[in-house]
Symmetry: C2
């Protein structure tokens, strides 16, 4: 069993206004995000399935297919692999991304 304390892990600004703490496991990548109000993630895609769970604040997700959802605490979105999507922090917010398989582009931050 490996354990991690996010409280003692430095966050990293992986995109402008998006500060993440990353845990890579054998199969998955988890990123615990804090985003600044108004910060935008441009439209992008990847083969990984991604599950977004909002913990605090309001986060807007849109797909390249024209769907948009504003997610608040207790709301969860599942983005299939290879679905282009973009994001916007409607307010300062915190959310968890879980991706399968491992996102090789994110180094574990522990």
């Amino acid at each position: 069993m490996n354990s991690y304390s996010l409280n003692s892990t430095d966050e990293r600004e992986l995109y402008p206004g998006y500060f993440g703490k990353v845990i890579n496991t054998d199969n998955m990548t988890l990123v615990y995000w804090r985003a600044e109000a108004g910060a935008r993630l441009p439209l992008h895609g990847h083969p990984h399935e991604q599950v977004v769970s909002v913990l605090e604040g309001q986060f807007e997700l849109s797909t390249g297919e024209g769907e948009t959802r504003v997610l608040g605490p207790g709301e969860v979105a599942v983005i299939a692999g290879n679905t282009e999507h973009s994001g916007r922090a409607v307010t300062a917010c915190r959310f968890l991304d879980v991706c399968y398989p491992v996102r090789e582009g994110y180094a574990s931050g522990n």
Copy 2:
């Protein structure tokens, strides 16, 4: 993009004292748990990798190999597949389990 509101999803008592809301995706199972103080999960194992993220309260995890961790908010444990483990809610607590692959035994609760 599929989205879910945990706020309008009924929790189910999947084990005594453990109330879960389940989301199954193509590859993963996420269970958002609320546990009553003192509730115990007996030693069990499964081939799935499991990541436990504590959101509120204190949750104790032990492995059949004799490791024990008490996890609080912001603490995360990664349990490799086929590692027997047990749990105890030290206090009333909330935590998120993420499993790969899908836990066929948990029906999606939406």
